[in-house]
Symmetry: C2
Subunit: 365 residues, 2 copies
């Protein structure tokens, strides 16, 4: 999508032809900077520190990290070690493991001296595939927005609430939850987005608001506490969120707080959709409560970073001195609260049957 009129992806091959450059997401929205990643270790550090984040994007970044590792040492031992090392950086998003498995399959049968080139080709394909997948999610999601718009007073915008950032900046381009929104906006369908701030790391206020603003989509930041109240007053037409892992039965792991919005949507008859590529589906798990939930640093709760009046960036301690904090990164929204899953193949019910209908090749034997 565009930043100040210039088209961007979140990740691209550097001019040297083998290292990658990415948008440094911990600097957003205060600074738009890119950084170079020149090894699997660099990629791991960027994923762990969330300089690179978003379930689809961390898969893409890890894929290139593996390619760089194979360029240095294409042995079986190094392949296995690097995959394990990259996979452990973030536990909840399944895309990371999916992308690394795709990479392994692309190289493991090849002779060592072919592996690096094959890995780079596969990593590039994964990125291009992600763009096309997200575009298709948008095509299917747009139909939902059009149907809601048709029931509203002409000229009134469709009000969409989203949580965290499942935008283009969490993917390679388009985004998952935002793809229908961008396509609606580009097609002159009036939309307005309620952007949940998404504490503790405020990916909503920092990233979703940034990318919607940069592309010109009308939006309003709200605190995470506000969505239920807005739904009670008829100010939300639907919710669309992304996800880090969907189980085979349709349970949805996503950024902490998603479950609360799904409860409020149910209580107010507001449709609650989850947008995802097939790579986010964990066909091995049948119960969302078994998804590992990342425990993150208390500092993310106790401190906030922002711009001082002079434009410099500062971090302040906001809470009562000495009070401890707990920081669960994700929660699980039970399938019963999800109106539908928007995938690149279409929209389905959040259930085993719904998913099997769209992905018959994955139906359990």
């Amino acid at each position: 999508m565009k930043i100040n009129g210039k088209p961007y992806r979140t990740i691209w091959l550097a001019k040297d032809g083998w290292s990658i450059e990415v948008i440094e997401q911990t600097k957003l929205p205060h600074r738009l900077e890119t950084i170079g990643l020149k090894s699997a270790e660099d990629c791991a550090r960027a994923i762990k520190s969330m300089q690179v984040r978003g379930a689809p994007l961390i898969g893409a970044c890890a894929a290139y990290g593996l390619a760089m590792a194979l360029r240095q040492d294409p042995s079986d031992a190094h392949l296995t070690r690097t995959i394990a090392f990259l996979a452990e950086q973030r536990p909840t998003a399944i895309n990371l493991r999916w992308a690394l498995e795709e990479m392994r399959r692309a190289v493991v049968e090849r002779p060592p001296n072919d592996r690096a080139a094959a890995a780079y080709r596969r990593a590039a394909d994964l990125c291009d595939d992600d763009v096309e997948t997200c575009r298709r999610i948008g095509v299917h999601g747009l139909e939902i927005l059009k149907a809601i718009a048709a029931r509203k007073k002409p000229g009134d915008p469709v009000n969409i609430l989203t949580h965290c950032n499942a935008g283009w900046i969490a993917c390679v381009d388009w985004g998952t939850a935002t793809s229908p929104i961008y396509q609606a906006h580009d097609a002159s369908l009036k939309v307005h987005v309620w952007v949940d701030e998404t504490r503790p790391r405020i990916q909503g206020a920092a990233l979703t608001a940034f990318e919607l603003g940069a592309h010109g989509v009308p939006h309003t930041i709200i605190v995470d506490n506000a969505g239920g109240h807005l739904m009670q007053h008829g100010l939300v037409d639907l919710c669309i969120v992304g996800t880090d892992r969907v189980t085979a039965n349709g349970d949805v792991a996503n950024k902490i707080g998603t479950y609360l919005k799904a409860l409020a949507a149910k209580d107010n008859n507001v449709p609650f959709y989850v947008a995802l590529p097939h790579s986010t589906i964990d066909w091995m798990l049948d119960d969302g409560m078994t998804i590992p939930i990342e425990q993150r640093s208390a500092d993310e709760v106790l401190k906030m970073t922002g711009r001082l009046p002079d434009g410099s960036i500062a971090t302040v301690e906001i809470a009562a001195p000495g009070s401890p904090a707990r920081n669960d990164g994700f929660d699980v929204t039970p399938a019963r609260l999800v109106t539908g899953l928007i995938t690149e193949r279409g929209v389905c019910e959040a259930s085993r049957e719904g998913l099997a209908g769209l992905y018959p090749e994955r139906r359990a034997s």
Copy 2:
């Protein structure tokens, strides 16, 4: 309650015998400062800017503000004008209007030159009554905590989730939601409090954590997004929150986000209690959706204040530059989601019948 071993109230008559001093709550938790308020205008400004906040406390502060106004000019016109002026500072909390009506009744039949002295007596009584009312709320709430503790493994703490600050610092002493917690702690019943941060003004992380820490009560700060996840995993035994207004049918207005926690509590069979003094009941309203909801500044959402590493206080802009924000101060939790109301007269169902049982003198004729 105590701060560093020293007993405090939130509001007291100054040595001059006519002005008041209060804890400056916008400086907490970074600085413990008191300020003097010497006129109704001072009190109004302190209430509006939330230097003084919490439904019971703003009632007490307004009562003294009226007494100071009558000391200057005890005329009927000035009485009427000052009551209207003070009442309009915060629209949602009913206690403010209740306290001003109590004050009016205490002085209006008196000759003008008796009014100031009567007003000071009534304001002091309102403060003392609030302390006793909150203490009794704690006595009744403690029984609930004891019953839950009896069903837990001996030695395991009772885990209480609270939202915003309905602590002693929101009242004159004890607090409403915190009063059962302090009484349990003082009686050596093991408790642990999950403190919702409570964006945008983080009264949980700043005030509830501060006062629990200062009194030695074990607690952990969480972001507002986390409570549902903790309930799903059995880590919350009950919720207790305060309220700014309860309608005659038991609907509860409280800080934005309370409704989301009540939904999660219902979905996980976690009891959800609301603690309140009788002065918080609005007998004139039958539907929570008709309670006026204060709209506050977008800056509260877009900026955060805290301590820099050198100890100085700074405010940083946290969100994407140029993105707008909306800031509803309160939401309404429907009575159907409330397990019980904890009042100074005991615990009742959140319903017309429940309230009428405890307050038969207010039963509609």
